[in-house]
Amino acid sequence: MSHIYLDHAATTPMHESVQEQMTKVMQNHFGNPSSIHYFGRDSRKLLDEARTTIAKSINATFSSIIFTSGGTEANNLAIFGTAYAKKNQGKHIITTSIEHHAVLHPLEQLESEGFEVTYLSVDESGRIDLEELKNSLRDDTILVTIMSVNNETGVIQPIKEIGELLEHQLAVFHTDAVQAYGIQAIDVKELKVDLLTASSHKIYGPKGVGFLYKSEDHYLRQQLFGGEQERKWRSGTENTLAIAGFEQAVKVLMDEREKRKAHYQMLNETLINQLNAQSIDFNINGDLTERVPNIINISFLGTEVEMFLTNLDLAGIAVSSGSACTAGSIDPSHVLKAMYGDNDKRIYNSIRFSFGLNNTKEEMKTVAERIKPIVERLKNL
């Protein structure tokens, strides 16, 4: 039985050119970029090149890119760094109820430290209401953090409109763009964001590296103390190898983004058509137009998510849903709960498919064919 990977929103395999580039770096460049000698300069050069490429990819300046260990660390740095730097000006933060846990859990921690957090609601489309954001803004709002693309539904938030709304406010605007970076052309100046998070392993780069874009006029309190790397915003010897791999992934991304989008769109449509061809009962969750093509969240009538996911894996289909607790069992998705309320069936029967470069049209047909008997079996229980 072939195994079909449709969980690219969780992580992607490394692009071949990334593997090649990293192998080269591994073999030839080991120096510490902070060292003043030849070997140090040699690595420093790689680091500078990577920073240049990545800054360009979002129309940012060289000095506004802070490399981190990934999206979670970048979000933590953005949130705690801003909250602690600005706490004398206010302690109010605005976010949404559908953020990733790497945003929600730092905010929960801040709440326990006396900060106040407003969670914007979403409707069934999964989008926030700009009016609600407007009405939630206060004189003491120091941070607004809203994700660009939701990792479970693929629904896009109106980041540019939010940026405009916040332009003359005290509040700093952060967006978690981990799921957007591989799909949307991002221009931080146009979006008017102050902080932006991205991650390498979602775009065919290596794990363990990401960045926080921080506009140069914005001040953060650093979270890791030590050496003066990343202009002191993030101490610790730079992960040159992973950063070089990340750069390569970004280079390919910039070349191929539109082509990839078209590929994902084709896969997305094919899957839907094939599910229909199999007469499977399903509904798509979230807005049908304001969405990225590589993520689709589908509610399968008559199924139960835990049993369905297990069955799919045993049938060679790797997909996901919500988030697993540390004991492996699936908690209902907080995103779908925010969209549909706590008692809707869709919370318990929805699955996320996320497409990748290597998926084929034929695979989508196979997936639908394998899903059919499982859905039938579960319905007849």
Partner: protein, 370 residues
């Protein structure tokens, strides 16, 4: 070896050594083995970590060693409704429940079996020490060969018709062999301590646990003739025949719980481990489950266990028209406890069992047993 790669066996894995070896043996026998961890109880420790995490990690480690897929399934709601509510209700009624029996009946061999079947399983396997054998076209449940570990007592309520779908690979082994197999294969759980106590309470203080769910009503400790001997902390904390924790001083033999009066909230105590109030010669059992086809109109001469790990006693079972049974003991028995299971055997074959409801001595119901 027979090709079993198309026969799917779902193994209930707890993260303990028994279920680990169960999965190992089945894998060695060539089955398509799938490990499933059951999360039945929602509990988080002081750091917000769910206590099932460690056990699930152990399941994951063992399954990776065996190269089999593993998953988790959540039965918290079913467990709460079917097992925990029963557990609390029995305590409220002054009886001593057996949640393990109920868990096997409602969760492991019902909800979990359904789950396994929905995953395309041909068989469900667990690490219980029991055997399933086909005898002349009839499938029977037998005691595990390790007499000390035999768990048929806890399995007495599983329905007969599912036996053909059940595998108990450990039934042929004794515990020492199981540990040895785990060590030989360097399984991650080879030296893991066996879990003790009721699963949802774990290592916690039982009294403290129960008091979180049932209000404790302290009352008097009296002898059966009404002499007040002290205070009890709440009837639910005591079980028939218990010696520990009474705190009655004075000279003479130790004091024992011999009964409960729910109406007046009195705990009956008497002196001496062999006190006559602890003895009975007959019981009435309800909720009978039979694991064999029998003509039930004739009295059955067989043996019985009234609690786990007790030696068998010779009994005669009289089946009543309403399906309940009266069980007469050849020898008087000590501390028969309402709420516990009575399980019947013929040799190694487990005939079935029921729940002890009433206890008699010389045809008189022992009212002090609540």
């Amino acid at each position: 070896m027979e090709d079993r790669s198309n026969i799917r066996v779902v193994v209930g894995m707890s993260g303990g050594v028994d279920s680990s070896v169960t999965a190992l043996l089945l894998k060695q026998q060539g089955y398509d083995v799938v490990g499933i961890f059951m999360k039945n109880w929602d509990d988080t420790d002081e750091f917000g970590v769910c206590t099932a995490t460690q056990d699930y990690e152990d399941v994951a480690r063992v399954c990776n060693q065996l190269d089999i897929p593993y998953y988790s399934v959540n039965f918290e709601n079913q467990y709460w409704d079917k097992v925990f509510q029963y557990f609390l209700n029995e305590y409220k009624a002054g009886r001593t429940p057996n949640p393990d029996v109920m868990c096997n009946k409602e969760i492991k061999f019902k909800a979990f079996l359904d789950h396994a079947i929905a995953l395309g399983a041909d068989y469900l396997a667990t690490g219980h020490y029991a055997r399933v054998r086909e005898n002349d076209g009839v499938v029977e449940m037998l005691r595990g060969v390790d007499e000390n570990k035999d768990q048929t007592y806890f399995l007495n309520q599983i329905p007969k018709d599912i036996l053909p779908k059940i595998l108990f690979p450990l039934g042929e082994l004794d515990k020492k062999e199981v540990r040895k197999i785990a060590e030989q294969h360097d399984l991650a759980t080879a030296s893991k301590k066996d879990s003790t106590g009721i699963c949802f309470i774990g290592e916690r203080n039982f009294k403290e646990f129960l008091s979180e769910y049932l209000p404790a009503q302290p009352g008097e400790m009296q002898t059966l003739s009404g002499e007040v001997k002290g205070q009890h902390d709440g009837l639910m904390y005591y079980t028939i025949g218990q010696r520990q924790g009474l705190g009655i001083g004075g000279s003479g033999d130790a004091w024992f719980v011999v009964g409960k009066n729910l109406e007046d909230n009195v705990l009956y105590v008497e002196q001496g481990i062999e006190h006559e109030a602890l003895y009975s010669d007959e019981l009435l059992a309800v909720d009978l489950n039979w694991l064999v086809d029998r003509h039930l109109n004739e009295p059955i001469k067989c043996t019985a266990k009234f609690r786990y790990r007790q030696k068998d006693s010779a009994v005669t079972v009289y089946v009543n028209d309403n399906g309940t049974v009266n069980v007469q003991f050849d020898e008087p028995q000590r501390a028969i406890t309402p709420g516990q299971a009575v399980v019947f055997y013929e040799g190694d074959v487990c005939l079935g069992g029921g729940t002890i409801d009433e206890v008699y001595h010389e045809k008189t119901k022992l009212e002090h047993l609540a």
